[in-house]
Each structure stands twice: as structure tokens, then as C-alpha cells.
């Protein structure tokens, strides 16, 4: 009976047709593999189970840590790694492009020859500070939101899904686990904060043909900005991950981080406006970062009632507390059950 005859709805149902339905068309099934399948099917088994030994070598600690880092960072770009949510990936892209705004406008100013435009957006002490620590829009709309989206589930989802067992039943120490997650979240933020900062600086050099003298002159300022950016990323990550470690979902850590950053700043602003007292800014992570950043970059300080060292101490205390909570909570994560 031909293929067409068998496909006819009026054709009688017979063994050959049932086999085709079960295993697909027999066209091109003449290989050795398909012959095995047919044999297994006859005995009522779907496949033959063979245990295949493996005699490969397992790499040392650095390779395991690299796997964790790679899994998290590459997840932003491709499938098959940590599945960051689509809103997170889209927001990172949008923020990356938005953070390149000053670089784009610097390029535009060089093309138009507009010196005023360059004064506003070109590389200067205040603009370098603004790229990293400016409050609006970068530290209201961009960086805290990215940090919140990233830290949201990075540890809490391991608790929620029990995937912490996947790490701790393997030769991954808790220090390596949390260290690599910290580094991964920080690296993704660094793409948005520091990479765009470097690109901004590079655009100025290329677009305006800056020479070595200019570069040597501005370089300390540039490095100070990098340092301020590292402080910003470290602080947001440590607070965010500590919140993630005490939670089982992705909502609380994200919202918690935003509440801490914006809540403390809003409260301090209200107190300052009502009572002319700035001391509450010491409880605001962003303001402590801004105060320290203004000092190391040499811009005009906006906090005048206490020295920058107070902000530095407050910043260290905040990070220490956050890291303590993080370490304690990660130490209590279970491998057998949560």
C-alpha cells in the first residue's frame, strides 16, 4: 500500500499505519538508530537505558567560580544561562543607551562646533561627577532601578526554588557562592555605570582630538570618578544582596532597596528643609556616596554641616552591616531542605 493510500481517511487501520503514527513517517528512517528504536518499540520500551561512564577531569576552584560568574553575567545577553527576566534585560539596554546620553551630546557638540553645548555636556569635573553620582536622572531613574532589578532574585530565588542545594552540594563554598554573585551583579551594573563613563571619556578624546596633555591633566579626575562609581556599585550591591538574602522572592529585595535609597533621602530632605539640619543625610546611602564622591572628585560640596569623613564612616558602617547580614543569611542556607 502506497503512502497516499495509507493516508486516505477511508483506508483500513493496520499495523504499519499505527507504527507511522507512533514513530513518525518511515521515510528516511532506515538508519541504524531508527532500527534500534523499532526494535525497542516491539518490546514495549521507549528506549534502551545504558549508563555511560565518564572519566574526565574536574577543574579546580577558579573554574567553578568562573562558571557562577559567567552564568549570571551571560544571562543578560543570551539564553542558556541565568534567566534574567525580560523587563530586567530591556531596562538594562534602555539605561545603557540613556547613560550614553552625555557621550552622544558631546559627539553632537563636536559635530556642530557648539561650545555652549559642550560646556553643558562635555567632559568636565562636574559632568564626570554627574555621570556617576548625579541625582537626577541617573540616581533616581537609572542606577537604583537597575540595582533593584538585579538584586531582586539573585539569592532569594535560590531560597525560593531550592537551587542553593545545587551549589552547596557541590564543592562550592559559601564565600565563593556569595562572592561570585556579588561580583556578577556588580559587573552588570558596571556595564551601565562605568563602561558608559569610559565611553563618555573616550568620546571626548576622539571627538575633540584631545592630546596627551589634556589626558594627563584630566586623568586623576577620571580615576576619581571611577572610584566613586565603584563605591556606588559596591554599596548598592551590598545593600541589595543583603535584602535578597533575607527574602524568598524577587519583589521584596528590589522594593526594599528602592525604599532604603529614596526613603532615607526624602526624609533627610524634609528634615533639612524644615529644620535646616543635614545630619539625617548620614542615614542616606546615596547622600553619603555623593558627599564622599564630591570630596574625591573635588567638586563643590553640597553638604556643609559635617565633614566628609562622617559620610565615609557612615558608608563603611552601612556596607559592613549589609555584608554581615548577607554573610549570616547565606551561612544559614540549607542544602538538604530550606
Amino acid at each position: 500500500m502506497s503512502q497516499n493510500e495509507r493516508s486516505n481517511p477511508e483506508a483500513p487501520v493496520q499495523g504499519q499505519a499505527r507504527m507511522d503514527v507512533a514513530w513518525g513517517a518511515n521515510d528516511g528512517d532506515e538508519t541504524e538508530a531508527s532500527a534500534q528504536t523499532a526494535q525497542a518499540a516491539a518490546s514495549g520500551e521507549i528506549f534502551e537505558q545504558h549508563y555511560t561512564p565518564w572519566n574526565g577531569t574536574l577543574n579546580p576552584r577558579w573554574m567553578r567560580n568562573w562558571a557562577i560568574l559567567r552564568h549570571h553575567v551571560l544571562g543578560v545577553f543570551s539564553k542558556g544561562h541565568r534567566p534574567w527576566s525580560m523587563p530586567t534585560r530591556i531596562f538594562i539596554l534602555i539605561t545603557f543607551l540613556a547613560a550614553m546620553g552625555d557621550a552622544a551630546l558631546t559627539l553632537v557638540s563636536s559635530l556642530f562646533g557648539e561650545s555652549e553645548l559642550h560646556t553643558i555636556f562635555g567632559v568636565s569635573r562636574d559632568n564626570l561627577y554627574g555621570h556617576v553620582l548625579g541625582f537626577f536622572p541617573r540616581n533616581t531613574l537609572y542606577y537604583p532601578l537597575i540595582a533593584a532589578l538585579l538584586v531582586g532574585g539573585v539569592i532569594s530565588e535560590d531560597r525560593q526554588h531550592g537551587t542553593s542545594a545545587l551549589y552547596f552540594s557541590r564543592p562550592v563554598s559559601r564565600f565563593d557562592y556569595v562572592g561570585m554573585k556579588f561580583l556578577a551583579v556588580a559587573l552588570i551594573q558596571a556595564i551601565v555605570v562605568l563602561l558608559t563613563y569610559c565611553l563618555y571619556f573616550l568620546t571626548e578624546i576622539l571627538a575633540f582630538g584631545r592630546g596627551w596633555a589634556w589626558m594627563v591633566d584630566v586623568f586623576p579626575m577620571f580615576v576619581a570618578g571611577l572610584l566613586a562609581g565603584v563605591l556606588l556599585i559596591f554599596t548598592y550591591t551590598s545593600i541589595g544582596l543583603s535584602l535578597s538574602s533575607v527574602s524568598r522572592g524577587r519583589f521584596f529585595p528590589g522594593i526594599g532597596l528602592l525604599a532604603i535609597l529614596f526613603g532615607t533621602k526624602t526624609m533627610a530632605s524634609i528634615v533639612k528643609n524644615l529644620f535646616e539640619r543635614e545630619v539625617l543625610y548620614l542615614f542616606s546611602p546615596y547622600d553619603c556616596l555623593a558627599h564622599v564622591g564630591q570630596t574625591i572628585m573635588g567638586t563643590q560640596p553640597t553638604y556643609t554641616q559635617y565633614p566628609w569623613t562622617y559620610s565615609l564612616v557612615a558608608l563603611i558602617a552601612m556596607n559592613a552591616t549589609a555584608l554581615y547580614v548577607l554573610a549570616t543569611r547565606v551561612a544559614s542556607m540549607e542544602v538538604t531542605r530550606e
Partner: protein, 338 residues
Amino acid sequence: MSAPDDLIIHTKGLTKSYGPHVALDNLNLSVPRGATGLLGQNGAGKSTFLKTILGLIAATSGEGSVLGYDIQTQGPAIRQRIGYMPEYDALNPSMDAIHQVRYSGELLGMNPKVALNRAHEALQFVGMGEQRYREISSFSTGMKQATKLACAIIHDPDLIIADEPSNGLDMKTRDFMISTLNTMVHDGQRSVLMASHLMDDVERVCDNIVLLHKGKLAAQGRIEDLKAIDREIEIHVWGGASPLEATLKDRGFRVRREGRVMRIAHTEEDTTSHILQAASEVGAQVRKMHEYEASLEDLFLAIMDNLGYAVKSSDDLLNNPVEARQVDAPRTMGGAGS
């Protein structure tokens, strides 16, 4: 601590305390190669035992080794050579099975490409070959269990620790899981430590058991040997069951009776002759007579009945069965137990 080559787990005086609570109490265990069931009620100390032998928590006192590695100092080496299949969900629901299994291999130090190749093999072996590119969130419980097993065996470990591998599975999937574990033990020559509440499953996979109760070792040894301690002959009696029971008891036999069914302790070679003679004397019809094969469940219940007494290994009991029985067997079974 060095252990004989045929032992995969060996502990001596292993104790773990959490303050006043003793989770593991002076465990002296010798687990041979092959499949071993880890039994015990909730709170018996199974999870603490697993965490201790994985080197995740430090024992309060005592010593032990797994695959020849010291549990106190060589935890990472142990975790690199074992495959742990947790009881609860330990999979990221947003990932595909293939990538999840590959990542679990990378966490052991496998090269990403090697891990991917091996992930295909492992998933094929556990019957998930056709489902490997599906997202885990769409998996049934059985498929998740199979994926967890694939994660555990990706590096071809010497010892697989499976925590409740057949929990929550339907009959067909459960059979497949059991047969997969059996294939690993018999074809793959791998050892399995299987913690389970399902005695039937343990019996189908394991040759040996370790029974914990309130942190203490209640029994260990070969299942067949332990069963042999309580060998009985079961008879179905028609007419004259009570006189037969009385006669057998008068002649020193331990008899358990449920209506027309009687189980008589098979302590001597000619027990059957004695039973038939007694039946003939009292005029009772013995319509069926066979050796009663106790299940692991019976064994478990019998041992639990006797808890509070000194631990007996199968060797102890077999070397001196009469004395051991007098100490261990409960009163309801003719012994001096509780």
C-alpha cells in the same frame, strides 16, 4: 581516618549536637559499596547525617570518611566525587533542562563544552532525552526528579546520595526511577545511598540499610540478613486453630495468630515437622504452609518496636540469634523487649 576499600562511608563515634540537642549520637557506621537505604522517621537525624558526611557541617566529635576522604577536613573533595539528589525542588523553573544540568556540571568544575555533552548523555539516561530543551516550569514531578538525578550523575560520581528519589511519583514513574537507580548500581557499578520513607522502594534498590532513630543507629546491615533474624512459617489453619496454637506454645514455639493465619518462629530445621505433628494431634487442617518472607516494612516496624536497646548489627544478631532475640524482640513477639 582510613577506611577499608570496600566501605564507602565509615564513621566512628560521630556526634553532632546543636546546644543541648543531640542530632547524631555516637554513630558507628560502615556502609559498603552498592546500594544502601537510609531509613528513619522524621527527626531521626537523616538530614544532619547527610550534611555531616557531605562535609557541610562540622561534627561535634568523632570521625568519619566518605570514599576515603575525611569528612572534617576534605568536604570539597567529597562533594566533588558524590552526586547529591535533593528531596525538594532544586531546579530553576525558568531554565531548560539541558542548561540546568550543564550548569550543575560546571559547578563541579567541568569545562562548559564537556558539561554540555555530558548533560545530553545524563538526560538521555534518565529518560529525558526528548524533553531536554523544555523549560523546567512545564515539567511534571517525575520529570523534575529525573532532571535532578541527571544533575547528580553528570560527572559520573562514585556515590549517589538520593534523598527521597521516588517521592510524589506515580507508579509508572516510580518504577522507572527505581529501575534507573538499579541500572546505575548494577550496570554502572556505582554506589547509592538512598534516603526514603518508602520501604518498598528501598527494598527494590538496596541490599543494605542503615536505620536511624533519634540520632542513634538503630540497625545496619544486609536486608536479607536482618530479615533472617525473624524468619517465620505461616500456616492457614482450618478447624482447631486455638488448640494448635496452645500446643505449639506448650512446645516452646513463638506463635503469632490472626484468626486462621498463624506465624510460627522458624528457629529449628524441623519446625515444619513439629507443626504438622501438632496439627495431626489436635485434628487441625493445615491448608497452606509456607515460609513467611518479611518485608522491609515488617523489619522496620520490628526494629522500631525495640528501640531503646543497644544497637545490633546483623552480624551481632546472626552470631548469637537466641540471645539477641531475647534482648531485642518485643514482648508481643515473645521476646523480652518493650
